[in-house]
Amino acid sequence: MSDNPVFARIRQDITENPVVLYMKGTPIFPQCGFSSTVVQILSRVGVKFKGIDILTDPSLREGIKSFSDWPTIPQLYVQGEFVGGCDIVREMFESGELQTLLSEKGLVAA
């Protein structure tokens, strides 16, 4: 599995960018309600993130699912670690855990 060429690209993306959202569409124009929800939450929290549109690349679309061992999109990574999909991000936002996680990592002002 680790020889999947797309994995190297994913590893690079999630290492070089502190917050990465694999999503359908772009942050400006999300193509799916679940992706849109996470974009709105990240914007509310005020964290800078890189949105990666998996719809433009079928190999990435399948690759990210096996890389994360997660069957659905969107997927949020913070400092190289998989945080979760839409439901998890929303629960963490509502409970304040997301804000805590990001401020502990120095990605948003506390």
Partner: protein, 94 residues
């Protein structure tokens, strides 16, 4: 058997839930990407089970996703998930 029944049956067998809700929300997504004629594409599932003890959110969702791997690889396009322990569920409902 509807897809909702299949989901319910599989989760009951795998996780012995104290409470289980499976709602077909496909009608809300009609016309969106991933929606299909006849529905059965978008589900909202709440699972309350002691099987989640000691597991974080990601691990809980993975457990459900693994149980429903065949359905997720098939016609189920989206699965909105709430996973709670019985005591967490109790706290929410009181």
């Amino acid at each position: 058997m509807t897809m909702a029944d299949t989901i319910r049956t599989k989760l009951e067998a795998a996780l012995a839930p104290a409470r289980l809700e499976v709602i077909d929300e496909s009608h809300k997504h009609a016309g969106h990407a991933g929606a299909q004629p006849g529905g059965e594409s978008h589900f909202h599932v709440t699972v309350v089970s002691a099987a989640f003890a000691g597991l974080n959110r990601v691990a809980r969702h993975r457990l459900v996703n693994t149980t429903l791997a065949a359905e997720l690889a098939g016609s189920v396009h989206a699965l909105a998930l709430e996973t709670r322990l019985p005591e967490e569920d109790q706290a929410r409902r009181t």
